[in-house]
Symmetry: C2
Subunit: 600 residues, 2 copies
């Protein structure tokens, strides 16, 4: 029993119980703390820095010599010899947890559109024959000064029995003066915030009574079966009016599944969700609503609907509370949709007074530039390469995906998600690999792979490839390679993003170096290594410290809209203010794009 | 060719072409004029009186001697000898046509809640990237000074393709500032008015662009399978929350069928119906909405909802236009529902300054008393006997049903619907038979049938019965009889109605003779013979001319609400003004009821 030690990781508030002699890295893994460890724990990469605040641990090793003066240790080198408390600097944590720790999430005053009220009715009797609804209306005015104007029929159907089962005291939920749900007294209504990405859908479950986050989950967008990118799906939907409904239903079933999963985890039920806020790019927005997206597929790329929109969840085929409501944040124009509005909302870019570039990187990348009171936005098709698609050994960010790559003294170091045996490369890994290959001159500026550029490069001509992991290494089931075509895919993707940034800067009459802040959002945007992205020229060459990675800001924005009517009004204002820049017809775009294809 | 004569019937505007020598009664049947002919054309009953305005006809017969002085003839006696024009007094026409002819239907200024607008949008282009909805909104303000606030999602889904297929010019339908339908330009939107009776459902198809009636149709209420009267259905629905939905769906499928049938007759489609107005008693109202009606089944008989209510047709499972809306008129209290509001609206009883009793007779009978600015209403369970149910040879009012009975000089005369061979007795026929049996003292005041009261009475004790039609007479397939139990059913029904009238008079401090007008509505109320009803004491003994029969006034009221927003406001006002009198707990009711069981 004396062999077990307790290790607390701050500020994450996670705890592990490990055997005496275990390393802090092992303890961190057990505690679910995503410590970086690019070298896999060999003490060579220096990415697992921590600060031991209290407790008995082993003395510094040779590998830590330079760090000790700063009070830092390498978690892979430190052996736990008793209970310990460890402080983890944000830079040492994997991006997903970093976003959480760094507290980029805005806090807002709780003022949800869907509000719950407990109300008590006087029971009916022979002297008061008024209808249930009439007496409910009166009680609400008297007890909460709230006027009910409308009653969702599905919610209304539940009212009379619930009233009588609960001795005339119930919880009702009201949105825009409409009764949308009834429940036993004190039942806290739930909300669902959903970011519908072209490839992935992320959802967040929230307690609307106190704003507490109850869980987050993600699934692949089920519409992927109908086409990988927005254009493919628009084309599919064009083939007949029924097809748009087919895409809509596919998404709805995915959302229902997500909601069910989140509720099960929280010990709740989908039927308790009274409102959902959905965001997505304009195409995802239209397909989520079952609106034909045909007009988005052809110049002049016009949306059917750009205003914010409220409708019944059942009209989308969603199985939430019977009277549940859905709020769609407004779109901007072209493909710059509600997800980007949500991202701007969550990061407060619309309010900043420093020159800021905001990017939400995904299969479609939206870019905004805030400068001098103006807010310019554009959208570019960066493709699914960063999601691991169209990459020879690409995969999505799942256990065993190589997420970090570094060449150190001729060695190739890499880190897999959850430290699992390597099975493929995800977006951030391929980005690192390209950056490192270029750094050691194994790639030319045009992306051509040099057969003699690195000992691990093999093959010739179009078949040339770089062996990142040979079969068997760390139990890799086969060779994991980066092909010449993989490099080209990354070039196309990063060039689209860089060209978008440059066109916006040009529209605003600014030089890149004037940008004081670059906010990078989206799952991939959060996991990518900014140095690598800078190395391949995806971003303008700015000092590293001007970059900040903020996680799924679109999802956070959806959550804010769920919790705050003020945020919904801000979203409207953002959508109104943005000056949309259409890249496909912009005269500078092609030139910038061609230039950006090169590797610096 | 010279043998054919043209006969015009005024004021109905109907025409027949008959052979010279045919009777006017034959001509009337060919022209679809529902002339009364209780004796079947024998010249004995005197019910087929007409006025020959022009043309050559046969001279008066012996049977017409007394009428000639008044300028009248009997249609069954007059032979057409050349083209003729005939005026038909209202009293000579069957009730259904009479209601039509007498013009009881209020005419209102056309101002429907669902209004169509043709609108032309400027096509989108690279200089105008605004969303379709944004440009539609603007065009509506500019072209019609109308502000759109909401967009039904199902209608919205049809907008973009329809806009592009029709060169940016479309017809849109707006209700309460919400877009509820889109259509090609100039397509006139349709409306559906529905009176949901406990036994029968009547529907009217209307062109909302010009107010024109496009057809009427009726079906049995499919909920009959779950119980004949309201209490049976409430009890069925109580057994579980799902059951109310089952009743709702049964009705919805019946309404869909009616709508389809009406549209097919008019060469239109259900998908063109953009709004429906539904009325019914409170129980039918609740079951139509899928609201649990449990609270209506027990004292204090409280409704869930009494206000007027708007919802989506799809939320009732109706397959009308995808974004179609349904308006439910307000209920009053107890079982006095939206159908009675509609009846008061259609007959203007709420505005009259003469003391008026209004009755809507059905399985449930609603009664109102307008006097001195007050409007008192009650409801009584008159049962389905008047619909032909619970009557030995009862049937609903269909071809072959005996609808009129008169004893003339010892002979028994009767009239069947459409003159078809007799197969049973409908409500008005049984009412006549009871009145005649009492007149000739074959019935005692307590309803007991006297074995020696009439040669056609046979059997004894509980088995005593009156043979109205012996098998074989006019091709009757079997004996058609009136049993002692039939008489009792009629006594129960008429007593409930009379007691209701007396309680209302008492509440208002009035004597029966002060009533200046009695308005009788409902299918049975329109077909019944007022003299017979007076003879059995269903109504207070008032002069015949104070009675007026107005057809399906509830259905007419629903139609008015479809065509006029002003009428909807009037309906609200009626529902607010009515003083509801609960009969089941009224101390006078039982006494009045017991008294009214007697036959005068």
């Amino acid at each position: 029993m004396t062999d077990k030690c307790t290790v607390d990781f701050e500020p994450l508030g996670r705890r592990a119980r490990v055997a005496s002699g275990a390393t802090l890295l092992e303890a961190a893994r057990q505690a679910g703390v995503g410590l970086n460890a690019v070298c896999g724990g060999a003490g060579t990469c220096g990415t697992c820095r921590v600060r031991v605040v209290a407790g008995k641990v082993s003395p510094p090793t040779e590998a830590e010599r330079e760090l000790v003066a700063e009070g830092l240790r390498l978690a892979c080198q430190v052996c736990v010899l008793g209970d310990a408390r460890v402080d983890v600097p944000p830079d040492s944590i994997t991006a997903a947890q970093r976003a959480q720790v760094e507290g980029r999430e805005r806090t807002v005053e709780l003022d949800p559109a869907a509000r719950g009220f407990d109300v008590t009715l006087a029971p009916s009797n022979l002297d008061d024959l008024r209808a249930d609804v009439t007496r409910l209306r009166e009680a609400l005015v008297q007890q909460h000064d709230v006027t009910l104007e409308r009653f969702d029929p599905a919610a209304l159907r539940q009212l009379p029995l619930l009233l009588r089962e609960n001795e005339w005291r119930i919880r009702i939920v009201i949105k825009n003066n409409e009764l949308i749900a009834v429940a036993p007294p004190d039942a806290p209504p739930l909300g669902l915030a959903v970011d519908i990405g072209t490839t992935k859908v992320a959802a967040y479950l929230v307690d609307l009574a106190n704003g507490e986050a109850l869980g987050a989950a993600g699934v692949m967008n089920p519409q992927i079966a109908y086409g990988e990118d927005v254009m493919a799906r628009i084309t599919y939907g064009m083939d007949g009016r029924e097809r748009a409904q087919e895409l809509q239903r596919a998404l709805a079933s995915g959302l229902d599944e997500l909601a069910g999963e989140l509720c099960a985890q929280a010990g709740r039920e989908s039927g308790e969700i009274v409102e959902a806020v959905l965001v997505g790019n304009t195409c995802m927005h239209h397909l989520a609503l079952g609106l034909p997206a045909d007009s988005l597929g052809l110049a002049p790329y016009v949306a059917v609907l750009s205003d914010s929109y409220d409708l019944k969840a059942r009209d989308l085929g969603l199985s939430l509370s019977p009277g549940a409501s859905v709020h769609m944040l407004p779109n901007i124009a072209g493909f710059v949709g509600a997800d980007h509005v949500a991202m701007l909302l969550a990061t407060s870019i619309h309010e900043t007074d420093v020159i800021t570039v905001g990017l939400d990187i995904g299969t479609n990348t939206e870019i905004s530039l805030a400068a001098g009171g103006r807010l310019l936005s554009c959208s570019c098709a960066s493709g699914p390469a960063f999601e691991g698609a169209h990459i020879h050994d690409g995969m999505r960010a799942a256990p065993g995906a190589i997420e970090r790559v570094r060449f150190v003294d001729g060695r190739i170091e890499y880190q897999t998600i959850d430290g699992a045996p390597p099975v493929g490369i995800c977006g951030s890994g391929i980005l690192d690999a390209v950056a490192e290959l270029r750094r050691v001159s194994a790639l030319r500026a045009n992306g051509a792979m040099q057969a003699d550029g690195h000992p691990r490069v093999r093959g010739e001509g179009r078949g040339v490839e770089f062996v990142l992991v040979p079969a068997g290494e760390r139990d890799a089931p086969r060779d994991i390679v980066v092909t010449r075509k993989d490099v080209n895919e990354i070039q196309l993707a990063k060039a689209a993003i860089r060209a978008g940034v440059e066109v916006l800067l040009d529209e605003a009459g600014l030089e890149a170096e004037q940008v004081q802040q670059v906010v990078v959002a989206g799952a991939f945007g959060t996991y990518l290594d900014v140095d690598s992205a800078l190395a391949i020229g995806m971003f303008p060459p700015l000092p590293r410290e001007r970059f900040v990675q903020v996680g799924n800001a679109a999802g956070m924005g959806a959550k804010l809209a769920l919790l705050s009517r003020h945020c919904r009004r801000q979203a409207e204002e953002i959508a109104r203010r943005v000056e949309y820049v259409e890249l496909t017809t912009n005269p500078r775009f092609v030139g910038e794009y061609t230039k950006a294809l090169m590797l610096p």
